[in-house]
């Protein structure tokens, strides 16, 4: 099960080695709102805040804010 969870990370690293060219005018789908890395920053901030206060792990690919809010 643990190895299975690591699979996405390995796949992403492998995918990064591909060199297919995508021209700027071909990026309409990538620019869609439902393809954003964070589709709802306000709601996801609340979700992350709850996870951080309920779980031992925290952090990610952004610089977090501060405060406790430790329900």
């Amino acid at each position: 099960m643990k190895k299975l969870l690591l699979l996405p990370f390995v796949l992403v690293l492998a995918a990064c080695t591909t060199t297919e060219s995508v021209q700027p005018w071909e990026r309409g789908q990538l620019a869609r709102t439902d393809m954003a890395w964070n589709t709802d920053p306000l709601h996801n901030a609340m979700r992350e805040h709850v996870y951080t206060s309920k779980e031992g792990a925290s952090g990610g690919l952004s610089t977090g804010g501060g405060g406790c809010g430790c329900y």
Partner: protein, 386 residues
């Protein structure tokens, strides 16, 4: 002689893209916002009450939170964008004072008798400067509760390759926190304690095809100062904590289905002995041009901290904590979101259910912490662009 003015295809595309309502609000880090957007979310967070069989003394009521969050994103000029976030929340409920064994040797909770009422204000502002193929942002923030005050600042930057297929990003943040515990007669608590946090990340984002992009990166954090819980009977934690993690994310669009699949994975490890895996999937299904349905599924598992104890016995010496957040457990969250979007406004509604148990952990758990939480999160929101 006539000269023909050549139009930059990237500029043409960007202009065309920004003319589309669904894309106009995209204030991604590689392009400055062109419109002002204001947003509001109301969230109601409700934890399931404990069963009486889990409690030795005190109230079975757990936390309820009402949160109001606001966001403003606005261009200051062609190269400068400002984002301001503010939230206000009220919290009430009881928390665990400690864990004791009952006559049968089972861990039971000692809860605070009366309901705790608190509120939290949080404000942050971020200024981002955009230039060719990159941007740099500086942000500051402040958070305040009855017993807790935090100030934070961060610097983030990103740079894309000439073909804009690859983007490198990174950032560093700092937070300075002060806790002044509410005092109660007969309970020995510190008057005032401090802690500081430094965190940073580095990431690579890569466009793989016209419908697929991935992101991978590393992050790290360092906490220094008072990291114990002042409201617990016996909670003695190390005064430093170093954490490290790796994250991989993917966004894949399927034109035939008009759906986008989001997949995120995070690995986390710290020198307190906690390792965790988080895996999340979200399916963004467009039902019409305006309406989108978003089911999501999240799995989380963590190992226990080295100094975690399953009860607060006086026989324990040195670092010790019975906090369920340091115990071994796993959690499943599932939810549904609804987005309705018109040219200049958007409505959102979300519901999410979260259940944590010892049995959901990747590793077997002998004694589950009785304080493990289950909750429901409801949210509604509106965004307006002008």
């Amino acid at each position: 002689m006539t000269t023909t003015k050549k139009r930059n295809p990237l500029a043409a595309l960007t202009g065309a893209a920004l003319a589309l309502p669904a894309i106009a609000q995209l204030a991604h880090a590689d392009s400055a916002p062109v419109k002002t957007e204001v947003g509001y979310r109301y969230s109601q967070y409700q934890e399931d009450d404990l069963s009486q069989s889990q409690i030795l003394i005190g109230s079975p009521e757990r936390y309820d939170v009402d949160n109001h969050a606001f966001r403003l994103v606005t261009p200051l000029n062609a190269q400068l964008g400002l984002t301001v976030d503010a939230s206000y929340e009220t919290m009430s409920g009881a928390s665990a004072y400690g864990v004791a064994e009952d006559a049968q040797g089972e861990p039971k909770l000692i809860m605070t008798g009366a309901s705790i009422d608190d509120r939290r204000n949080d404000v942050s502002a971020s200024l981002r400067h955009y230039r060719d193929n990159g941007s740099i942002a500086v942000s500051v923030g402040w958070s305040d509760e009855k017993d807790y005050t935090a100030y934070n600042a961060a610097l983030e930057a990103e740079q894309s390759s000439a073909d804009r297929l690859t983007t490198y990003s990174g950032g560093i943040g700092y937070s300075s926190d002060t806790i002044e515990p509410v005092q109660e007669a007969g309970i020995n608590r510190p008057d005032s304690e401090d802690k500081s946090t430094i965190n940073g990340f580095a990431a690579i984002t890569r466009i793989l095809s016209a419908s697929w992009q991935v992101q991978g990166g590393l992050f790290a954090g360092f906490n220094d100062g008072y990291l114990s819980d002042a409201y617990k009977a016996r909670d003695i934690r190390p005064d430093e904590r170093q954490s490290f993690g790796a994250m991989a994310r993917s966004r894949y669009f399927m034109p035939d289905l008009q759906a986008a699949l989001h997949a995120d994975y995070r690995y986390y490890s710290d020198d307190w002995g906690i390792q965790s895996h988080t895996l999340e999937f979200a399916w963004h299904q467009s039902l019409t041009k305006q309406l989108r349905l978003v089911p999501l599924l999240r799995y989380y598992s963590q190992s226990q901290a080295d100094f975690y104890v399953d009860n607060d016995s006086i026989s324990h010496t040195g670092d010790q904590s019975s906090d369920y957040r340091l115990s071994p457990f796993g959690a499943i969250a599932y939810g549904l979101g609804l987005v309705y979007e018109e040219t200049s406004w958007r409505l959102t509604a979300n519901v999410e259910r979260y259940d944590s148990e010892g049995d959901l952990a990747l590793e077997s758990v002998d004694r589950e912490n009785p304080m493990l939480v289950s909750y429901t999160l409801l949210a509604v929101g509106v965004d307006y662009r002008f």
